[in-house]
C-alpha cells in the first residue's frame, strides 16, 4: 500500500481533467446501474416465490432508486448534469448500466443472479470509493453501503436456496450467474483504462477495476460452492470498441425500448408538474 500523501478534493477545482472525467463516467455508470436495478426490483414486487421476498424486492427497489437520486445530486452539483433531462434525451446505447439489466429479468433464477452478482458488483465498486479523496462522495458512499448489506443477504440467501434445491432451478441459476458475471466484467472495464488508473492514482478509489472483478469472482465461487452450483469458467471479456462513458463494447445496444418507456414515464409525461 502506498504511503503517498493524497490530496483531498472538496469539488472538481484543481482535479486533473482525466481524473474528473474518470469520476464523471464512474458515477454515471453507478447511477444508471442503480436506476435499472431499481426498475427490475420494482417489477418483481409481484411474482416472487413468497410474500417476504415480494416485500424485500420492493424495499430493494426503493433503496436502489434512492441511491440513484443521491448520485444524480452529485452529478448535478459538480458537473451540472440534470439527470431527468439526460434520461429523457439519451439513446438506449448511451446508458452506462451493467448490460445484464438491458432486458427483462424473465424468471426467479435470473432475479437471483441479478441480486447476487450484478447488484453486488455495483456494491463492490461503491466500496472502492470508501474514504475517497473526493470528499462529497464519502458520506453518500457509507450510507449506500450500509443499506447494501441487506441486498447481499437477500441475494446470497436465495442463491443458496435455489442451489440446494438442485435440478432445473440450479441449472438456470448457474447459467444466469455466468451471464451476469460476463456482463459485469465488460462494465468494469479493461485493465488499461486510463480513467480507472487516474482515479486510483488520485486516491478517489482505493482499488482498480481488475481487483474488483477478481474479488467478485471469488465471492461467486465461494457462494456457488456453498450452494452446490457449478459456476461456469469465466469467459474473457471482449473490450472491442469499449466506450469509457457507457462502459459498453461495440454492438451493445442498451436497455430495451419497453424498459426505457416505463423508466422515463413516457405515457405519463403529460402529468409532469411544471410542464
Amino acid at each position: 500500500m502506498s504511503n503517498a500523501v493524497v490530496r483531498e478534493f472538496e469539488s472538481l477545482e484543481g482535479m486533473p481533467t482525466a481524473t474528473a472525467e474518470g469520476l464523471h463516467n464512474l458515477l454515471w455508470a453507478l447511477a444508471d446501474t442503480k436506476l435499472l436495478l431499481g426498475y427490475h426490483y420494482g417489477e418483481w414486487t409481484f411474482g416472487t416465490p413468497e410474500l417476504e421476498a415480494a416485500v424485500a424486492s420492493c424495499s430493494l427497489s426503493q433503496s436502489e432508486l434512492g441511491h440513484a437520486r443521491l448520485l444524480h445530486a452529485l452529478l448535478k452539483k459538480h458537473w451540472g448534469d440534470d439527470a431527468e433531462t439526460v434520461a429523457e434525451r439519451r439513446e438506449p446505447a448511451e446508458f452506462a448500466n451493467i448490460a445484464f439489466l438491458d432486458q427483462p429479468v424473465d424468471g426467479w433464477p435470473a432475479f437471483v443472479a441479478m441480486n447476487a452478482v450484478v447488484d453486488l458488483a455495483a456494491t463492490r465498486v461503491l466500496a472502492t470509493l470508501q474514504g475517497s479523496a473526493f470528499k462529497p462522495l464519502r458520506m453518500s458512499v457509507d450510507k449506500m453501503l450500509d443499506e447494501e448489506r441487506h441486498h447481499a443477504h437477500h441475494g446470497r440467501g436465495w442463491f443458496r436456496t435455489l442451489g440446494r434445491r438442485g435440478g432445473e432451478d440450479a441449472e438456470q441459476l448457474r447459467v444466469a450467474a455466468g451471464n451476469a458475471l460476463a456482463t459485469v466484467a465488460v462494465w468494469l472495464g479493461p485493465p488499461d483504462d486510463p480513467g480507472d488508473r487516474a482515479l486510483v492514482a488520485a486516491g478517489i478509489r482505493n482499488r482498480p477495476a481488475l481487483e474488483v472483478l477478481a474479488a467478485l469472482a471469488d465471492d461467486l465461487r465461494q457462494l456457488a460452492l456453498e450452494a452446490g452450483v457449478g459456476v461456469p469458467a469465466p469467459v474473457p471479456a471482449v473490450f472491442n470498441g469499449w466506450n469509457p462513458r457507457t462502459r459498453r463494447a461495440a454492438g451493445s445496444t442498451g436497455p430495451a425500448d419497453d424498459i426505457l418507456f416505463h423508466l422515463r414515464g413516457d405515457a405519463n409525461a403529460l402529468f409532469k408538474v411544471g410542464e
Partner: protein, 71 residues
C-alpha cells in the same frame, strides 16, 4: 412443499430501550431471515435488530398455560 423455518424478530429503537419482539418471518436460512426481517419490519429506524430461529428458543412456560408451579 417444504415448511420454512420460523425466525422470531427482535429490535430496539433506542440504545437505552430493551429489545422487544416485533414479529416473525419464514425463511430458508439465517441470511434470508435477516433480509426479510429488515425489509418487513421497517416501521422504525431500529438501532439494533436480530432474528432467532424459533427452534432455538427454550420454552419455560408450557404454551397456553399460566406459569404456575407444576407446569
Amino acid at each position: 412443499m417444504a415448511v420454512l423455518p420460523v425466525y422470531e424478530v427482535f429490535a430496539r429503537a433506542k440504545h437505552d430501550e430493551p429489545l422487544k419482539h416485533v414479529g416473525s418471518v419464514n425463511a430458508a436460512d439465517d441470511e434470508l431471515a435477516k433480509a426479510y426481517a429488515w425489509t418487513l419490519y421497517d416501521e422504525e429506524s431500529w438501532v439494533e435488530m436480530c432474528v432467532v430461529p424459533r427452534a432455538a428458543i427454550v420454552p419455560i412456560t408450557a404454551h397456553g398455560r399460566l406459569p404456575v408451579w407444576g407446569n
